[in-house]
Amino acid sequence: MAQETAKNYGLFASRKAQTEVFGIAVIVILLVIGMVLGLRAAMQPSKPIVQSFVQSHQSQDLLNALAETRSRCPALTITDEIKDWREGTNLCDSAYLEPSLTSILEQTLASQKKPYRFRIFGGDIEDGVTILSISNDMTAEEGTSVNEVDEDQIGISLLVREKPGFLYIPTGGGSTMTVMLEIFTPVGRR
């Protein structure tokens, strides 16, 4: 009888110890999870405020400035030159347009290592045909070319498209040309 009681007591004590160890294990696991979560929150890099500020309207600012910049043809602005090139009125040598636009985009965006895609559509973006497209090829090193970034591919691309800029140019025939500038940021550089 006495032996059995002692045996039962031993069993009870061992169970109690097991429960205690289990309790400690749960506490340690909870602490580790808390620490990992806290550490992850602390290590998360904050969004660069200045870059966000600049990128949010860089493409629109550039198009606005570009629109009224005087071109290399006397008495014409870049907008006039695009119109002239589209309508074929030959106020200016059409060979000037593309090199001028490329030069501007290279000096403003490519010099900052920013991939871009500049397009002029014959009408609306939805039904208009691209009549001029200029993009830089520096994206090969990033693994994705800007021309591979389509609307439905943006989420999985290595390039993130910033807010695009638009410029609408009315033409003689009552239609409107749309100029669109997209600037991309490689994911790692965000």
Partner: protein
């Protein structure tokens, strides 16, 4: 026999008490180790969070300075009394640059320090149709010469540059570069 048993019982009780004491000590040791670890962790977390807040504050201030610089009436170009966005008048800019870069004009520098701080480089450059040399409007000067740059934020903003002397098509395309520096004690 009975004496022997009593002695054994006393010995066993003493040993049990020792074990209980050891258990309590171990629990306390583990508790303090966990407490110390938590404090170290919390301290590191707090330090990193403060550093992040300081950086965010600096960046927010930098954006404020950039906006002030972009909307400065002393630089803005107007057309028939209408102010143009993201446009600077090159003659106004040259006049302001002259005023701010005069060596002895401390009052004027302090006056404009309210607008874009004394720790800011502000310059613009015409890039199209003809490329021109960069014009420095304001140059950063640290309050204390024993300080050095510890952080900087730069923005390059495309702008129109107006040349009022031209009778028509007076706008060129340029880049305004605004660099805001953060100075700190020199590491020696």
């Amino acid at each position: 026999m009975r004496e022997n048993n009593a002695a054994r019982l006393t010995f066993l009780r003493g040993r049990r008490a020792q074990m209980k004491q050891m258990e309590t000590i171990m629990v306390l040791v583990i508790f303090f180790i966990l407490l110390a670890l938590s404090l170290i962790f919390y301290g590191a977390l707090g330090k990193s969070s403060i550093r992040q807040q300081v950086q965010e504050r600096f960046e927010t201030d930098a954006v404020k300075i950039m906006q002030n610089a972009l909307f400065l009436p002393e630089l803005a170009c107007t057309d028939h009394n209408l102010r143009k966005e993201n446009c600077i008048d090159r003659y106004k800019a040259a006049a302001l640059a002259e005023l701010l870069n005069e060596q002895l004009n401390t009052d004027m520098k302090l006056f404009y320090a309210k607008e874009f701080g004394v720790e800011t480089d502000l310059s613009f450059k015409v890039i199209f149709p003809d490329e021109e040399a960069e014009v420095m409007i304001a140059e950063a000067t640290p309050f204390d010469i024993n300080e050095e740059i510890i952080s900087q934020e730069q923005a390059q903003i495309p702008i129109s540059i107006k040349d009022s002397e031209r009778p028509y098509n007076e706008y060129s395309l340029g880049i305004m570069t605004i660099t805001v520096y953060k100075y700190g004690p020199r590491n020696s």
